[in-house]
């Protein structure tokens, strides 16, 4: 099976020849071809080259255009701080929506020449270069993450209590934008869309069920309606929102290491595909090939058959290559 066939078979419930393998790589990938991360995040040709090289070396079943959370915010005019060799960051102290009334004047970006276009072009290039051999994953911010990008994470947390109407307007804006961004990536050749909604792990089950989950669900329904499956990744501790995540309709739920896969399975049922979730730093980067192999075995046992191998979050920069290779060895030896 090709990587794409393997992932698609897993999603569709058909037999696979070995476990699909989908670890997130960003700085690890950039380092592997020696490009500074700023170049990786600003030039889709560098990103594509690094993803292809990494996927080939470790036999990953997919390539991805995930790079940083600042692409959409950047095109909307948010202030971004750039670093030579790490991801750009949104400057929260000068958040685009530090004045809430600015939301009414905010228009969806045209995706015609900024960082969102660079991502779309990244998808197009990867699709052309991988053909049918691997899944090409597009990437968008989830509604809660995007709201935090625009309003500032700290402020958004208080808005949840202070101004429900603003939260709804903001999430509506974020959702509408991300659906269009996902559509553009699907048209460019993405065969999977990843949604990253990190901030959703901070708000607790009440606000997750009330605000984040319904918008995630609507986004996922819209993207699946384009004929593209969806992976939902929420960084952080999601133990209290697992059941809600399982009801979003995402084809793949990608858990960070703080939420045990066994709890995910219990909350979401047997049919949900789970991905993850060893501790990227302590288990993967600081482990040994033997301990990584063993930890992945434990993850697989916890998750059960509807499983895709990966780490809890991004494979950290500086992870020994033999540790990543241990993930590959494990995945290829199981089905």
């Amino acid at each position: 099976m090709t990587g794409r066939e393997r992932i698609e078979a897993r999603i569709q419930g058909r037999p696979v020849d070995s476990l699909p393998l989908m670890p997130i790589t960003m700085m690890f990938a950039a380092d592997s071809i020696g490009v500074p991360y700023r170049e990786y995040a600003t030039d889709h040709r560098a990103l594509a080259a690094a993803q292809l090289e990494t996927a080939a070396k470790f036999d990953f079943d997919y390539v991805s255009v995930i790079s940083d959370p600042a692409r959409e915010a950047s095109d909307l005019g948010a202030k971004i701080q750039w670093f030579d060799n790490q991801p750009p960051a949104i400057v929260e102290s000068e958040a685009l929506l530090s004045d809430k009334s600015s939301l009414a004047r905010l228009r969806l970006p045209d995706m015609g020449g900024g960082r969102m276009l660079d991502r779309i072009e990244g998808v197009r290039l990867l699709a052309r270069q991988t053909g049918a051999s691997r899944i090409v994953e597009g990437w968008v911010e989830g509604p809660c993450a995007m709201a935090a990008d625009l309003r500032g994470l700290n402020t958004l947390m208080l808005d949840l209590y202070d101004d429900e109407g603003f939260i709804i307007d903001l999430f509506e804006f974020a959702m509408a934008m991300e659906i269009e961004f996902a559509r553009a990536q699907a048209r460019a050749g993405a065969t999977l869309i990843g949604i990253g909604d990190a901030a959703a792990s901070l708000i607790g089950p009440r606000f997750y069920e009330r605000f984040a989950q319904p918008y995630e669900q609507k986004m996922i329904r819209a993207i699946r309606g384009m004929g593209v499956p969806v992976r939902l990744h929420i960084c952080g501790n999601t133990r209290k929102i697992l059941a809600g995540m399982g009801k979003t309709g995402a084809d793949i739920i990608d858990l960070d290491f703080l939420a045990p896969l066994g709890e995910g399975r219990a909350a979401m049922g047997e049919s949900q595909i789970l991905l993850g979730n060893m501790d990227p730093v302590r288990a993967l980067r600081d482990g040994t090939p033997e301990s990584v192999f063993q930890r992945l075995e434990e993850c697989y046992t916890e998750a059960g058959p509807r499983y895709i191998a990966g780490a809890g979050c991004e494979v950290p920069r500086g992870t020994p290559h033999e540790n990543v290779m241990a993930m590959t060895r494990f995945a290829r030896g199981r089905n």
Binding site: Q86, Y161, G204, V281, D286
Partner: protein, 217 residues
């Protein structure tokens, strides 16, 4: 008479207006600031920390309570300054150079303040030099360093080295935290402590201050 139980409840429930109103009323009736802080406000924030720790509270609730705590502290500060009552300790806190992620740092900062510490928050993307300068100018007891990114963690080590270079390392405790940070890393760079979450960071700071007081006694 001001109902001081309401002060505790207002902070736990994140009601800033109610918290400030009770404090104002209590001051007007001649209440001792330290009695309000130690009898009601710090216990309230300890309870908030406990609820956060056992996942009854999440980040919005913690920040809401921190806002209420700040509102209650505001009218007390001038009284404390004039009475010369010392805080539990002075903490310099910041997210290290190259890192703009500050939510974890803010949670620790809020709980430390709620725990009776004087907190000087240097913000995010703070260079080792800036930490050193602030330590020199404030006479801080503890420096708390936060990082979310593995790539910015080395700045914790550089900050400790910078403190050594100016002869301050023995005069200040350094504690570190953040998602990729581990006890092993703290040991490796010679930090005085590591905490895996915000509530334990307050306990760690109290322990270090208590140790420092015993050492100087």
């Amino acid at each position: 008479m001001a109902d001081l139980a309401q002060l505790r409840d207002a902070i736990i429930n994140g009601n800033a207006k109610a918290a400030a109103a009770v404090v104002d009323a209590a001051i007007a009736e001649g209440a001792e600031p330290m009695a309000l802080i130690h009898g009601y406000m710090i216990p309230a924030m300890d309870e908030v920390g406990r609820r956060f720790e056992c996942e009854e509270y999440f980040v919005p609730e913690l920040l809401l309570s921190a806002r209420a705590m700040k509102a209650a502290l505001a009218p007390l500060r001038p009284l404390l300054t004039s009475s010369g009552v010392p805080p539990a300790g002075k903490v310099l806190i910041g997210t290290v150079k190259g890192d703009l992620h500050d939510i974890g740092k803010n949670l620790v900062s809020s709980l430390l303040e709620g725990g009776g510490f004087e907190v000087v928050d240097l913000g995010s993307d703070v260079s080792p030099r800036k930490f050193v300068e602030a330590a020199q100018s404030t006479g801080a007891d503890i420096i708390a360093l936060s990082a979310l990114l593995t790539v910015t963690m080395p700045s914790m080590k550089y900050t400790i080295e910078a403190l050594k270079e100016v002869g301050l390392r023995d005069k200040v405790k350094v504690i570190i935290g953040g998602a990729p940070v581990t006890q092993q890393y703290a040991d490796q760079i010679g930090a005085d402590g590591y905490s895996e979450n915000a509530t334990l960071a307050v306990a760690l700071a109290r322990r270090l201050m208590s140790g420092a007081r015993q050492a100087t006694a």
